[in-house]
Amino acid sequence: MGWPRKFHEPLTRKAIPSWPRAATGGGRHKGIQPPNVPWDLFVACANGDGIDAVTFQALHTSIDLDGLYDLIEMSDAAESWKSAAIMNTNETRGNG
């Protein structure tokens, strides 16, 4: 279940605040942030190509706050593996 959490953590913890920058390549052009959807819900439902409506529905009916942060943590870890794989490939090719 990851690291121990404190009560106020959901308020202060933003698991992947740099994700939009990474998703758009880190340049000066930026996408929009969803103004009407809580950021945590958006991050948990965005799967790279679109929005996972099943997860969105579950977050309103059957998954609690702790589960939401588990989803974000898993998503965050999966993204880090992809990044690590790309960097490892670049290093193997001598581009690192």
Binding site: F7, P10, P38
Partner: protein, 136 residues
């Protein structure tokens, strides 16, 4: 934790049952709760064990600080209503309805059930808060 579950607890001789909130509801309630109590006070109460919490509530200084924080926040907006909203999925076996005490939702009968029992209200809300926002 992670998926919605049912929890029960006896408080002052009344058996309460609550379900953890869906994540979307939790995200709405949590900021309002912290705005009402203040970050340090919320952390203090929800992260403290039940036995230690009773001692805290018996300390006039802590109780005074809590009342002061709540009064300040309540004067600014409808802060106190968050206590009612967080009991949306909470019921009890002895809820005051008219002259009777019956099993019912404490959210539906909030005003009557908690009238004159504000410390009891606080105890119930602390328990619901701990169930939802801490990971024991």
């Amino acid at each position: 934790m992670g998926v919605i579950r049912e929890h029960t607890q006896a408080i002052d001789g009344i058996a309460y049952t609550t379900q953890t909130m869906p994540a979307s509801d939790g995200l709405k309630i949590l900021p309002r709760l912290v705005a009402l109590l203040g970050d340090s006070l919320t952390g203090l109460f929800f992260a403290t064990s039940e036995e230690d919490r009773d001692k805290l509530l018996e300390n006039p200084k802590v109780l005074g600080a809590m009342i002061s924080e709540i009064s300040r926040a309540a004067a600014e907006d409808d802060g106190l209503l968050v206590l009612r909203d967080m009991l949306k999925s909470t019921s009890a076996d002895l809820v005051r309805v008219g002259d009777a005490e019956i099993p019912a939702s404490v959210h539906t009968h909030f005003d009557q059930h908690f009238a004159g029992r504000y410390r009891h209200l606080l105890e119930v809300c602390l328990w619901v808060g701990r169930v939802n926002f801490t990971n024991p």
